[in-house]
Symmetry: C2
DNA sequence: AGAAATTTTGACCAGTTGGAAAAATGTTAG
DNA sequence: CTAACATTTTTCCAACTGGTCAAAATTTCT
C-alpha cells in the first residue's frame, strides 16, 4: 500500500459532484487521453502564466480564480473548463517549478574544480532570481506555508539531489580544494543569498535607493557574493 | 498636507458606514482616548498573538478573521470589538515587528571591532530566526507581496539605519580591519542567510533529514556562517 | 457545406468572508 | 445597589468565492 494519499480513505461526507473530466476518466480508466488541441495548449499556457503572476504574490489561499481569470483575459467558467479546480493549476505550476529549480544544482559537476563550479552555480541562481522572480516567490510562498503541496518532492527529489551534491563538496574538501565546512549549510547559504534578490526585491531596491537600485544591483550582488564565498570578510594583504 | 493617506480623497463609491470607534474619533478629534482597560490590553495581546500565527502562514489576503478569532478563542464579532478591521490587526503587528526587526542591526557598534560586531550580529539574527520564526515569516510574506503596507517604513526607517551602518562598515574597511566589499550587499547576505532558517524551515529540515534536522541545526548553521563570513571557502593551510 | 466536437458564455448556487447592529450580559465607581 | 460603562453574543447582510450546468457560439473534421 502506498504510504501517501491515505486521505482517500476518508469517508466523503459531502458527495461532491465530480468534474466532467474526472468522471470520464473514472468511467474508463484505460481510455487513452485525447491529445491536447492547439487551443488547449495555448490557453493552458496563458492560464498558467496568469496563475504564476497571482499565486506568486498572494499564495495559494490568498489568490482567487477570478483574479487569475482576469489576468488571463478570460471568464472564470472558461478558465475552469481548462483546469477543473484551483488546486490543479497550482499543482501544475509547482511541478514545472521544481524541475526548473533543481536544474542549476544538478549542473554542478564533481569532475570540475570547486571554485569555478560553485561560482557558476551562484551565477546561475542569481540569474534565476533576476529573470524568474515570480517563480522564486511562488516557491517562497509555498515554503512559508510549510510546503503542504510539495513536501514529498522536497523530502525525496530535492533531498536526494542535495545529498549527492553534498558528497561532491565533501570530496573537494577531502582533496583540500575547498575549506572544510558543512556542505549542507553551504548549499543553504547559496540558496538564501541568491533568492533573496527575488523574494525581498522591494526591500533591496528600497534600501539601495534609486541610485544603486537599478538593474546594476545584480552585477553588484554577483561581485559581492563571489568575494564572500571565496574569501569571506577577512582583509587580505594587497599584492 | 501629509504625503500618505492620499487615498482618503477618493470618492467613496459605496458610502460604507463607519465603525463606532472611527465615528467617535471623528466627532471629537481632540477627545483624549480613554486609557485601555486591563481586559482590553490582555485581549488585544491574545488577538495579536493569534493573528501572528495565521498571517505568518497565509499572508494578509489568505488569512481570515474567523481563523484568527478561532485561534484566539473568541467569536468573530468579539474580536472585531477590539480591532475594528482586519487591516488594523495587521498594521499593529507590522509596526511592532519592524521595531523588533531593526533592533539587532542597531546594536552594531562603530566603536567595536568589526569581527566581534559582525559575528554577534549574525548570532542575534540567527537567534531571532530560531526563537521568532513566525515574525520572520510574517515579514517575508509582506515582502513577497511587495510590502504594500510597510513600504514607507522600509524606505525611510530601514533605509536610514542601513545607510548608517553601511558607513560604519565602510569605516572599518578604510581602517583595513575588514575586506573591502559592498557594505549593503554584505548586510543583505546576513539577512538572507539567517532568515532562511526561519522562512525555509521546512526545506532545511527536510533536506537535513531526521538525523541532523533537530535543534542542533541552528548551532551548525551558526558555526558554518561564522566560517563563511570570516574566511569564505578558500582552504587555509593548517597551523 | 454540414455534422460533430470543442470552446465560450451567462445564469446560477452554496458556502465563506468582512463587517454592522442590537440586544444581552458583565463590571465597576459612586 | 444601581447607573454607566465595558464586553460578549446573536442575528444579520452584502460581497466574494470556488464551482456547476445547460445552452450558445465557434472550430474542426469529413
Amino acid at each position: 500500500m502506498p504510504l501517501n494519499k491515505v486521505k482517500s480513505a476518508e469517508v466523503a461526507a459531502t458527495p461532491k459532484r465530480q468534474h466532467k473530466a474526472d468522471a470520464k476518466a473514472a468511467a474508463h480508466p484505460h481510455a487513452k487521453p485525447r491529445p491536447l488541441t492547439r487551443i488547449q495548449r495555448e490557453k493552458q499556457d496563458i492560464i498558467l502564466e496568469a496563475a504564476l503572476e497571482v499565486f506568486s504574490v498572494h499564495g495559494f489561499r490568498g489568490a482567487t480564480i477570478d483574479q487569475i481569470a482576469e489576468v488571463a483575459g478570460m471568464s472564470k467558467p472558461n478558465l475552469l473548463y481548462y483546469f477543473p479546480r484551483k488546486e490543479e493549476i497550482h499543482r501544475r505550476l509547482m511541478a514545472a517549478l521544481l524541475e526548473t529549480w533543481l536544474a542549476p544544482l544538478q549542473e554542478m559537476n564533481a569532475d570540475g574544480d570547486p571554485f569555478p563550479e560553485i561560482r557558476s552555480y551562484i551565477r546561475r541562481k542569481l540569474e534565476m532570481a533576476r529573470d524568474y522572480p515570480r517563480e522564486s516567490r511562488l516557491f517562497a510562498n509555498e515554503m512559508l506555508q510549510g510546503a503542504p503541496r510539495i513536501i514529498e518532492m522536497i523530502e525525496v527529489d530535492l533531498k536526494n539531489l542535495v545529498d549527492e551534491k553534498a558528497k561532491v563538496l565533501l570530496g573537494w574538501m577531502d582533496q583540500g580544494k575547498l575549506a572544510r565546512t558543512d556542505p549542507y549549510h553551504l548549499i543553504f547559504s547559496i540558496w538564501a543569498t541568491t533568492q533573496h534578490y527575488a523574494d525581498f526585491d522591494v526591500q533591496v531596491r528600497a534600501v539601495l535607493g534609486p541610485s544603486r537600485g537599478g538593474e546594476g544591483r545584480f552585477e553588484d550582488a554577483a561581485r559581492y557574493l563571489e568575494h564572500l564565498f571565496l574569501y569571506g570578510l577577512t582583509p587580505r594583504p594587497r599584492p
